[in-house]
């Protein structure tokens, strides 16, 4: 009985994951096809056209875009981790007047959709002269209400006595933050880091608005650019570029999966 149950479970799961994964698999397969094969609706390439990948890198500065994306995503990730963790620390471990009110105010900004504040943000960045600069693509994202909220929830589970023991031993706030709070909250930090990395990696609208220069543009824009150049015939090339965009996300996900799961359930238990 158990074996039957297990087997049927796996069959269903495999079928579902195939359905879910089909676009990805097809994109992978199509990235090796010639334009003709794609239009004929083949599922598998007859011969492997590796030159699609070469073509993609030649049509647009895909390599430059890749480097930009990695750089921007990493900077935003570390920026968010640094700013959110320090803000969360203040909300949990420092006692000041109006702390609750400030926190509610801070959190309520999560309710404003990002698109609504896009125009004022754009104007601000423009005034600062950050159009076509990495600064404009990264710094506006450092202050994350979500990140602060997530970390605050975790920090609150750290027993108050730990801070008090540190206080008595003469360990200051910064040292306590660096040597106790951050290491203890590793899972939450990893969770937030992965989430931020992926969100930034997949961002499209903001980079589109604030960049015109290929030198700073990230991959997602490059993909779009490629698509508009190649639509009519070279689908294989576009799919090759799609794979280049998707692979880093997959790597990040695979590495972080364990941490992510643990972090999310930790949060759920709280």
């Amino acid at each position: 009985m158990r074996i039957v149950k297990q087997t049927s479970l796996y069959v269903v799961l495999t079928a579902l994951s195939l359905v879910l994964f089909f676009p990805m698999l097809y994109a992978f397969s199509a990235s090796f096809m010639s334009a003709q094969e794609v239009l004929l609706g083949h599922f598998l390439p007859s011969t492997l056209h590796f030159e699609n990948y070469l073509q993609a890198f030649q049509d647009v500065p895909l390599f430059r875009f890749l480097i930009n994306s990695i750089f921007i995503s990493l900077v935003v990730t570390f920026g968010v981790l640094a700013v959110s963790s320090m803000a969360a620390y203040a909300f949990v471990f420092l006692d000041f007047k109006g702390r609750k009110l400030l926190f509610v105010l801070f959190i309520s900004t999560m309710m404003i959709p990002w698109e609504a504040s896009m125009i004022p943000n754009f104007v601000t960045v423009q005034q600062l002269g950050w159009i076509n600069r990495y600064a404009g693509l990264t710094i506006p994202f450092f202050a994350s209400a979500f990140g602060t909220f997530l970390l605050r929830q975790y920090f609150k589970t750290i027993p108050k006595e730990m801070q008090e023991a540190a206080q008595i031993a003469g360990i200051g706030h910064f040292r306590f933050f660096m040597n106790v709070v951050l290491p203890v909250s590793k899972t939450s930090l990893v969770t937030l880091g992965i989430y931020t990395f992926l969100t930034t990696w997949n961002a499209y609208l903001w980079p589109l608005l604030t960049t015109t220069d290929e030198l700073v543009r990230p991959l997602q824009i490059g993909l779009r650019q490629l698509q508009s150049q190649e639509t009519v015939n070279e689908w294989g090339v576009v799919m090759a570029a799609v794979m280049v965009v998707a692979v880093p996300t997959l790597i990040v996900l695979f590495i972080g999966q364990k941490h992510l799961q643990k972090g999310l359930t930790d949060g759920a238990l709280k």
Binding site: E161, I168, V184
Partner: protein
């Protein structure tokens, strides 16, 4: 080693009611001082006021004779052991113990020596590289103690450090903590709700109730001469028997109810009182002296605890307990004679609970020497 003195110290959280009322106590250098009282009476609050984790609403705190109200916790020359130990989960035992020392920039050699000494003293040598979660409750407790010992602070504060341990381990740690304190001579302020810990560990203790200090003294004096009904019932196990009585000055007897009277001669006029008598002072008829006062009771329950026996019976609808040495197998419902001697009777004012008659109390309180 330093003294700690509280003068009229009071505490209220925010704008709330005061939870500590006008505390006055001087804790001598090197003394093992126990704060004892039921849960919620304000023991932790007092300890945290001394540590500087809570500010003092009014009154003074002197540490080593110097005003300390506004000193930050790290400048009060003390260490603290928390009820939940507050160990850092990501650090090894070794790092946990030396964490505070590193912050104080104590040299590597001194640090190593102190670590070794503390680990030897607490038998932690084998566990230095483990993480706290790989230790048992008792071992974590030892790490917390070691952390406090290596700081070599002249004052050590402990907040119910044994309450998470099982009974057997608690007994062992009691004497261990006591021995370590004697050896290093630190001034100890120890909080507990357990009167046995207070009785067995303290040089002196303070009994607290609802934020008010009830009595300060050597455990044995507090036990023998409780100042009021609260202390009388809180200290001692089984509890002291307390019953409302009326003193009839004309007939010179204490009346428990219409058939029960105890002939005693007291130096005051007729009034309402509370009678208190320790279970150990209620004796079997045949073991009591000539002058003992005898009463007959109906036994409701008997518990034989190895070499002593607890008898319970009803007096005025109140349960009394007697503790007799030896093994007495008396069936429930038996009527038997008990005896008490007049000098073991404590009498408290019914109104305010103060002890007004204590025949054994020395006329001049003994000097407390530490």
């Amino acid at each position: 080693m330093k003294s700690v003195e509280l003068i009229d110290a009071s505490k209220a959280y925010g704008n709330g009611p005061s939870v500590i009322e006008k505390l006055n106590v001087k804790i001598n250098p090197g003394e093992f001082f126990v704060l004892v009282g039921p849960s919620g009476c304000g023991k932790s609050t007092i300890l945290r006021m001394i540590a500087g984790l809570e500010d003092i609403t009014s009154g003074k705190l002197l540490i080593g004779g110097q005003p300390a109200n506004t000193l930050p916790p790290s400048k009060r020359s003390l260490s603290m052991v928390f009820q939940n130990y507050a160990l850092y989960p990501h650090l090894s035992v070794r790092e946990n113990i030396t964490f505070g020392l590193k912050a104080r920039r104590i040299g590597k050699e001194v640090l190593e020596k102190r670590l070794r000494d503390a680990a030897d003293m607490l038998d932690l040598g084998r566990y230095l590289d483990r993480k706290p979660r790989q230790l048992s409750g008792g071992q974590r407790q030892r790490v917390a103690l070691a952390r406090s010992i290596v700081s070599e602070a002249p004052i050590c504060l402990m907040d119910e450090p044994l309450s998470n341990l099982d009974a057997k381990l608690r007994g062992r740690m009691r004497s261990e903590i006591r021995q370590i304190q004697r050896r290093i001579g630190t001034t100890m302020i120890y909080v507990t709700h357990d009167q046995i810990e207070a009785m067995t560990m303290g040089d002196r203790m303070m009994v607290l109730h609802d934020g008010h200090q009830q009595q300060i003294g050597r455990p044995i004096d507090v036990y023998n001469h409780p100042k009021n009904t609260f202390v009388a019932s809180f200290i001692g196990s089984p509890q002291m028997n307390l019953t409302p009585v009326v003193y009839d000055a004309a007939k010179k007897l204490l009346r428990l109810n219409k058939d029960w009277t105890l002939p005693v001669d007291l130096p005051f006029s007729s009034r309402d009182l509370t009678l208190g008598i320790r279970p150990a002072n209620i004796r079997p008829d045949e073991r009591a002296g000539e002058n003992a006062i005898r009463l007959s009771i109906k036994v409701s329950d008997v518990e034989i605890l190895g070499n002593e026996t607890l008898l319970t019976f009803l007096v005025n609808d109140q349960i009394w307990t007697a503790k007799w040495e030896g093994q007495w197998s008396i069936p429930g419902g038996t009527v038997c004679q008990i005896a008490v001697s007049a000098e073991d009777l404590l009498l408290f004012d019914r109104e305010n609970g103060k002890c007004i008659h204590d025949p054994k109390r020395p006329s001049k309180p003994e000097e407390v020497t530490v």
